[in-house]
Amino acid sequence: MSSVPLNAGAPSPASAGPLATLKALRGRLPAWLPWFVGRLLSGIGVVLVISFIVFGATQALPSDPARIILGPEAPEHTVDTLRRQLGLDRPLVLQYADWAQQVLSGNLGRSIDSSVPVGELMAGRFANSLTLTLAVAAVAFPLALVLGIFMALRRDSLADRAVLSSVVLFKAVPGFVIGICLVMIFSTSVFSILPAASLLDPSLPAWRQPQYLVLPTATLALSVATYLLRLVRASMIEAMDSEYVTAARLRGVPERRIIWRHAVPNALIPAIQGVAMTFRVLFGGAVLAEVIFSYPGIGNTLNAAIEMRDLPLIQGIVLVITVGVVVINLAADLITVLLTPRLRTATRIRARSPGLRNAASLWRTGKSWRVSV
């Protein structure tokens, strides 16, 4: 067929009643709210899908947990009885509902390795990871911001090129090499002023033991700051080259005001997504750094749990990380939308994660990808 029937596919006019109510509501509610609700729902969807996978990977595998518990020698009817007692003969959907209910009420089961409840085990480790993450953020973000803006303003100068080259060096060197070098310099070969391993006292919160935080923080900060630095530099250069900056100059606006009022706010919007990306990496467990320094964070714990096939613990950690990543993404997108008037006032936001795409494009090509609404 080559000719489409007339009006096929045309949006049918919505009925007047609900539409009018909607329009009236739209006057009072922020324009971005429908977009945000959509993003929220899709975030919940992601968590659900991950929970299916986690559940499927453990409860619904072809291997029979009852048989595993009782061993290969057990008679078939005993296994059947246990299977019934465990509810394994019930439909998968019901089993999932039961499991989800347990998870939601905070019961993630007990660790196979240590028999400690998974929730209890994770709480301490996540607190440690969060402390480390915040410490890294506190060091890396201001560093990247200040240095990035400084370099952009002195683009192609000797200082800019020197910093840029060393940034490339840090980026090219794997994180664990940086970690090992730092250990050699500050704990073993050169100076012995900092502990080489972060043997935290579990009875104290991590932030009360800063001597153990210094080296892991430095290692992680050095590797994430390089990314953010280049991101901030590139978007700041783009902002300074923009026509609104030239126009402000031609209106006689002082340079300082141009930088802080015009360029920096525009340059920081893509950086929001860069910050979010950093948080995701750190929160999901900075495995390498934690392993090197034996830091009792979540990455280290997940690593150990995988080695021990400690399924309840793996489930718990993966679920919490998933929720964390979804929340970070949501927060970053919301902040991006709120800080971008064009998106904030748009009734329909087409780009799913405009800032993320912009950040990715800046990172790859050094050029900004513009959001069109």
């Binding site: 080559s2 000719s3 923009s242 031609l250 209106r251 008037p341």
Partner: protein
């Protein structure tokens, strides 16, 4: 007379001899001028002398530019891309773009030598004494700041004594002046919530709020529709005369300049080619380049045989020795290739830098035979018959029941302002529209609006050419690959045959076969658009759909593309030409369809529609289209000949 452009050397001589006996030719011109315009103040407000701007590599962007503007006068600075007009414009505020620098010259505004000022002093001059209005208002306004913040900033910086209420009062005053709503609520809006015309008015308000002495307008209407452009131009004219502001208006478009300015400077390759009072330039252009420009501009008022200027303007660093225009000039001889012509003074304040001023016109405006007869009825069934097309953009309907016919060998123009749905229509007919429905017959057969549902046979017969030649070609493919890929896709021929066809099509679009090995980045804009046309032609189309294919090109290049299209049409090709430029319509099309907000408001033979528009909207479009011909002169266009005077 406010424009007195001389090369730097001559100017110094004149200055030193000011008040002395008029013993040189230059001084005679000056005294003539003074006699003609006794009312003008003695000291010009803006004086530019021997301005030279260089790139970091040492190549001149602008050389030996000198001119003056008196208060209350508007001067037009005209040139094609690469002529240095924007560089001159920003130099008037002591600014050059990154990587360039002012190496020579003097720019004096109201007695202050701008180039001798330090950063701080220059900053106080910018905005307050000299204001600048940029080309694209959409990117010139900071997307994060409200309109009010933009306006307040100018006053905070330059008039710190004013308190917030006083500032706001001034802002609302100037808003009323430039034709914006003088309401506090309007100040709360963000740039993207304004139309293009409103954004441009905000820029004008920013420029005028401090009551500057000189205002530099860098193509401020290029991004606007003709109707909006006409209104903005009227506003600029009124503000300049009302406040006695001198203005420099930079444009690539002689027709726009004609609506506004008192004097014109034509720049070519960074030098002044010609400077003359407006009427003189249009009636008797002296420089071959000015003549060429005027002959290359399609005009809404009459069908012209457009005279393309061969070749292209040289980029900085590749400019030839001697006269930069010599390689493109039909009058050039060996001397032109070696000797840099100085500006010489002609009668009536006109000046031109050319060694062949006596050699007669290099280009002349020629009216073409009247438009061809509307062919559709005579030639039997039309090639393309659109009974109805509707299209949506999201939930908004952008095409309403659009119908049109296109006969074999006919050129139909689709005209409308931005947002009229003309590109949507073109894309739908090309099969690229996602949300279009309708019934279309192609050669009597039903035609799908989705290219993938069309047979390969129909697909190669209908070809589409995109607006922007800089983005329509794959940057990683050589021209040859671009062409042979299309051939082999449609006709399954072997490599040698594809190569042969590619070479043949290159000849058809007047490109050297050697360019088959070039990458698009090595080509100029006009060459790229030729390659894009070649890519369509190599598919052996019956119907060519052209979406604003000349709007990204300079006028002289546009003329060559239009000439090519006319030639192809004479060879039997049908063309659907989408454009916003009624001059192009007059020059090219047989029939025209006028779209407004997705509806056809008028259609008919080009001369009928443009000479006697029936619909009010069409009438408005025709009236607002800048023309080189006075309304009063239009009936006697046969009488127009170019006069030359020395």
């Amino acid at each position: 007379m406010s424009v007195i452009a001389v090369d730097g050397h001559a100017f110094r001589r004149v200055e030193s001899g000011a008040g002395a006996a008029h013993d040189t030719a230059q001084n005679d011109v000056f005294s003539n001028v003074a006699a003609q315009a006794p009312a003008l103040p003695a000291a010009p407000l803006l004086k530019v002398q021997g301005l030279r701007v260089q790139l970091a590599g040492g190549a001149d962007v602008v050389s030996d530019v000198s001119f003056e503007v008196a208060a209350g006068r508007i001067i037009g600075l005209v040139g094609e891309s690469g002529s240095g007009k924007t560089t001159v414009a920003s130099a008037l505020l002591g600014h050059v773009r990154h990587g360039a620098r002012i190496v020579e010259g003097r720019i004096e505004v109201a007695g202050t030598d701008l180039l001798s000022l330090d950063e701080d002093a220059l900053r106080t001059v910018r905005g307050r004494v000299v204001a600048h209005v940029a080309q694209d208002p959409a990117t010139t306004l900071n997307p994060l700041l409200r309109i009010g913040t933009h306006m307040h900033e100018v006053l905070e910086v330059h008039a710190p004594a004013l308190d917030r209420a006083a500032r706001e009062a001034r802002i609302l005053d100037v808003f009323a002046d430039v034709g914006l709503p003088a309401e506090a609520a309007f100040l709360k809006r963000f740039p993207h919530q304004l139309s293009g015309g409103q954004q441009q008015r905000v820029l004008l308000a920013q420029a005028f709020v401090l009551k500057p002495r000189l205002i530099v307008l860098d193509e401020p209407t290029t991004a606007l529709d003709v109707s909006t452009q006409a209104r903005v131009l009227a506003t600029i004219r009124r503000l300049c005369s009302q406040h006695g502001v001198a203005a420099v208006y930079v444009s690539h478009d002689l027709a726009v300049v004609r609506e506004l300015v008192d004097d014109v400077i034509v720049l070519y390759a960074g030098r002044i080619a010609e400077a003359a009072p407006l009427a003189t330039l249009f009636d008797a252009p002296a420089h071959p380049y000015s003549q060429g420009l005027l002959a290359a501009i399609p005009d809404v008022a009459e069908r012209r045989a457009l005279q393309p200027i061969p070749g292209q303007a040289p980029a900085p660093g590749t400019r030839p020795a001697g006269c930069a225009f010599a390689p493109r000039c039909p009058l050039a001889d060996a001397r032109c290739g070696s000797e840099q012509p100085a500006l010489s003074h002609l009668y009536g304040g006109q000046q031109a830098a050319c060694l062949k001023l006596d050699a007669g016109p290099a280009f002349r405006i020629e009216a073409a035979a009247s438009a061809r007869r509307p062919a559709a009825e005579a030639d039997g069934p039309p090639l393309l018959e659109v009974a109805q097309i509707d299209a949506w953009y999201g939930s908004r309907q952008v095409l309403h029941n659009v119908a049109l016919r296109l006969g074999a060998g006919e050129c139909v123009a689709v005209v409308g302002e931005s947002g009229s749905g003309k590109t949507t229509l073109a894309r739908a007919l090309a099969g690229l529209g996602e949300h279009a429905v309708g019934s279309v017959l192609y050669r009597g057969q039903s035609l799908s609006l989705h290219a993938r549902e069309r047979t390969a046979d129909v697909r190669h017969q209908i070809q589409y050419i995109f607006q922007n030649p800089y983005r329509a070609l794959n940057p990683r493919h050589r021209v040859g690959e671009t062409l042979t890929a299309a051939v082999r896709h449609f006709f399954g021929v072997d490599r040698a045959e594809a190569q042969r066809r590619a070479e043949a099509v290159m000849a058809r679009v007047s490109l050297q076969p050697g360019l088959l090995d070039a990458y698009p980045r090595e080509l100029s804009g006009g060459e790229r658009q030729r390659v894009a046309i070649a890519r369509a032609l190599v598919c052996e189309p019956q119907l060519l759909i052209c979406d604003e294919i000349t709007s990204a090109l300079d006028v002289s290049v546009q003329a060559t593309i239009l000439a090519l299209l006319r030639e192809l049409q004479a060879g039997g090709l049908s063309i659907l030409f989408v454009t916003h430029d009624l001059g192009v319509v007059r020059a090219l099309a047989d029939r025209v369809v006028v779209l407004r907000e997705g509806r056809v408001v008028e259609h008919g033979a080009v001369d009928d529609v443009l000479d006697h528009p029936f619909n009010r909207y069409t009438k408005q479009l025709v009236e607002h289209s800048p023309s080189l011909i006075d309304a009063a002169h239009r009936p006697q266009r046969e009488a127009r000949v170019i006069r030359y005077s020395i």
